[in-house]
Subunit: 316 residues, 4 copies
């Protein structure tokens, strides 16, 4: 039996962006989303169609990573209390409803802060991992939320590319597959792009039996390779968003877990968004052949948070 | 002492959009944000500057409407548990942090669902108010979240217009003031615009003593008048967003409360966003003179919710 | 196929205690726990052994009724933050840890308020069911919590009586079984007793596969009969507590559900405690042959709550 | 200005119970509550009167230590949803209400786990303080909850003793005062007693202006002295409970904070209960002259918790 390699070794020669934007930088590859690139992104808008890419929250059956709890949403007041005389309308007759939620911050579509994942006791841009204690002093989702993620995005519909509704559990794909898919879709991945990758997984959550969905849980997704890491680096990919919970084929062929998180988020500062709903957008792209668009997403500005919910917009 | 008029009378001749987009409509004036208007909005982008308009969440001192509780955010895991041997890294060495939040859904920057506020037992588009019981079956924030709010927005910086850092508590302004401010700013309010109104209030929250801020709590803001209501109707204003908690001068000169909510949200279906941070954007607009821009906002898709948090984007 | 009878008919001739202790009464059969009966209960203490009957909370695998969420407990501070310099000790060197919980109030061992369950739109002692809206104005758990439940209790170990570790799913038993068990245990059920009934269910939760435990979920327990109802009434049973989640064989042979809740809690005002851990106490009783003891329980004083957690004490 | 002494020095000669009940002990002075002492406690019951000593939870105005949030309780279902047709009764006609709470575990009447407070990086019985990380592996409230706190208690009504309704903010008292009070009350503090000390503070919370109550927040209470520490040790006091939030005059005359927590909880393993409501009990004791009674309290069995809510019982 072979030993699982440590990421220190696995990524020994892999590129990083640490220090590239100064020692204080906490938004990483989002720095690639310069004003000129925002203008380039805006030029991708052709028809004025708008898509929202968040998944529903508080349904009692939200797609969450195993171990995270379902969101709990409750009314704190509504019409019923006026009906039984427990509340009275404000002067003039207005009444209102209000509500409360308890949820995991990564328990729905969300952006990770760059400090969500690490190895060798060190976060992106060399902050010590112990700074995550009790709240992320550095590399929380807040700097990402303050900046926002606005740029030209490309949807790579891997499920359609492989002729499936949904990829198999644990099905990996790599750089060649990405490029082949882009070529087949006739879309150019330009420098500073945001990548949206569709596997069909989150969409299938709502139609599959929950026990079957979570059994031997392994998501399909990108598998790390040195070429893939270098390509993300050279192409200045700013953000990676997928319709899975972890944005990658969770277990690498070497046996190491979350290698893409390590190589892209922790080393390169690529902003990860997870649990996106991409099916409707993908159908539209398949129909009109336009796989690039303006992407505008800004997670909630939750202070010191490991991540925060977001409902990204695709404007075609 | 004069009697406070009921909204039934006060708004007897006021316009509504009920039925305008069918009996099932739950997004109201967002219907004005058609694809052509999205394209028009995109053309407002000139420099590629991006601003996020949400306020921080979970700081322990978030601006919330009196009676709503502060958000509570806690780490559920972080580096500390690895340090003391309570967790072990995944195969290969990756470790991670995770967290949880309990908060009012309208306890930070948020969009209201159109059913958040009503009178005469009836929500926007004639849904019975009792459908809010336990969760908004109709007119929750979900349809707004599914559609997104993308269009051309105009910032009206009323505080600067009146030569103040922050307007006084309870200071009202009306349609004439809005138009005068737009004229002074040399920005055109086109049909189907999204209005962002700055009073300076939310920005001042972070520098003022909390007891002073909340004492005799009355926000400055727009005051309802029949002309104002007709103007919103005729101008097809899609969404109203402000840096206050309630988007209006809470108590109308007649003594009735939340009249603008009644006239605009409940009658016209105008989508309300509240508690925006507008100071940085406003400074930039004052500097470059560009007061219109692409506005892209999508609240979380919280099922049956009265409202949901959002971090709106302004792209200039 | 026969029609399921309505409780109005099923309990048409069943006794009630409505009005017995005045129109304001909200503690029902706890009124039977008079000072003389407390003194009688105290005399049941012989050896000074103490047992706590609550189940653990916040383990991630708490026994909860299907549909209720697991409790979420998180540290808000602990040593880790002092270690990394995020907190400093108070003057003199004291440091401390603190924590937070989000849970269903009936999501562990708890007392129900008498208004937790009803039929015919009417709660115990004729309060309208609509008073439960948004919070129980009457018959919440608060009056029970303010009074406390202190009296002589008798443990009826039905599992041991039937020669099983745990009763079967949906296994019913009735008054004759209770009396036969008491006789076999040589314990007298005196007037005003508190009954503790052991089925083995909650104890088995911690050793059984969760999916198996919840499959076709039906609990073993007491099944309503007119004689049983009259017996509780005549014997002035103050409180019923079991090691199940619902204190009864959920579905009655007639097809009606929660009949015991209706007959005992809603009609007679018997205070229900559920999800008790009785195994250790039962083993001790089997060993020393003493099945009666002083029972002292007081749920949390949660205002307007349907129920509240409790950790009951048995003092032998 | 004199330096504040460190607890290491202040308590250099103070007694500890570490190791006294083995290296695994996590209930400390509760070990003094042996079966014979439980029987002695039972003999203190004379009239059969019962008092519950918890404070209300979820009122929106609960007494909580500065920095802790108010409990949030919400119905998850009630009659209102049946009324509007969103729920249907179970077979036979039963309907029910249910609810949820989010709260600090020490946000109402509660027992501390012995690991709640420490100094010199070490908890009671020499567990390292770093074991509190993410949850108290040792000295959580769970062992105390599993054991329960049952014994003879003595109420010392210091407010009445000093002729006041409520003691002044920061008013200290010491061993002599305790003994004088006991003498005046003609009650004997026997070995292994549980002490309940009344200052009038929590009772006054509900009638005082909140801002005034919390201004320059300092509680009256016991002040540590070497004699006091030795007396607790020699008298084998098992538990200390008061109607304040911190059980002691928070700041010691030396300037050190929480000295009593250090000397009694961390060194001796005395179980602390805080935020008790003692006014009604105290009035009764003043009337009938009986200041000792059976005390029965068991906090919730919250796993790894720093503390847990409790509603203690006094049975006279």
């Amino acid at each position: 039996m072979t030993e699982v390699p440590h990421l220190t070794d696995l990524l020994a020669d892999a590129p990083t962006n640490w220090g590239r934007w100064g020692t204080d930088d906490q938004v990483g590859a989002l720095n690639f989303l310069t004003a000129p690139r925002v203008l380039e992104a805006v030029r991708a808008v052709r028809s004025g169609k708008v898509f929202t890419l968040g998944t529903p929250v508080g349904t009692g059956n939200d797609p969450v990573w195993p171990g995270r709890a379902q969101a709990q949403r409750y009314n704190t007041q509504d019409k019923s209390e006026y009906l039984v005389g427990k509340r009275t309308a404000t002067a003039g007759g207005v009444e209102y409803a209000d509500d409360f939620i308890a949820m995991y911050l990564q328990g729905t579509t969300h952006y990770d802060g760059l400090g969500h994942v690490w190895f060798d006791d060190t976060l992106y841009n060399s902050y010590p991992a112990e700074t995550t204690t009790g709240g992320l002093t550095h590399n929380s989702v807040l700097p990402i939320a303050e900046r926002g993620v606005v740029g030209r995005a490309v949807l790579l519909d891997m499920a359609r590319h492989f002729g499936k509704d949904v990829l198999d559990k644990g099905q990996p794909f790599g750089l060649d597959d990405l490029l082949a898919c882009a070529a087949a879709q006739q879309v150019e991945i330009t420098k500073g792009s945001i990548l949206l990758i569709r596997t069909g997984m989150i969409g299938s959550f709502f139609t599959r039996d929950s026990a079957e969905y979570y059994a031997d849980y392994l998501e399909p997704g990108l598998e790390y390779s040195p070429e893939l890491g270098r390509w993300f680096h050279e192409m200045e990919i700013a953000s990676l968003a997928t319709d899975t919970m972890a944005n990658e084929c969770t277990v690498h062929s070497s046996g190491a877990a979350f290698v893409l998180h390590a190589a892209l988020m922790r080393n390169l500062g690529v902003a990860f968004a997870e649990i996106l709903s991409l099916d409707e957008l993908a159908s539209d792209c398949a129909e009109d052949g336009q796989y690039d668009f303006l992407y505008a997403a800004a997670p909630l500005k939750v202070a010191e948070a490991t991540g925060a919910p977001v409902n990204p917009l695709a404007i075609k």
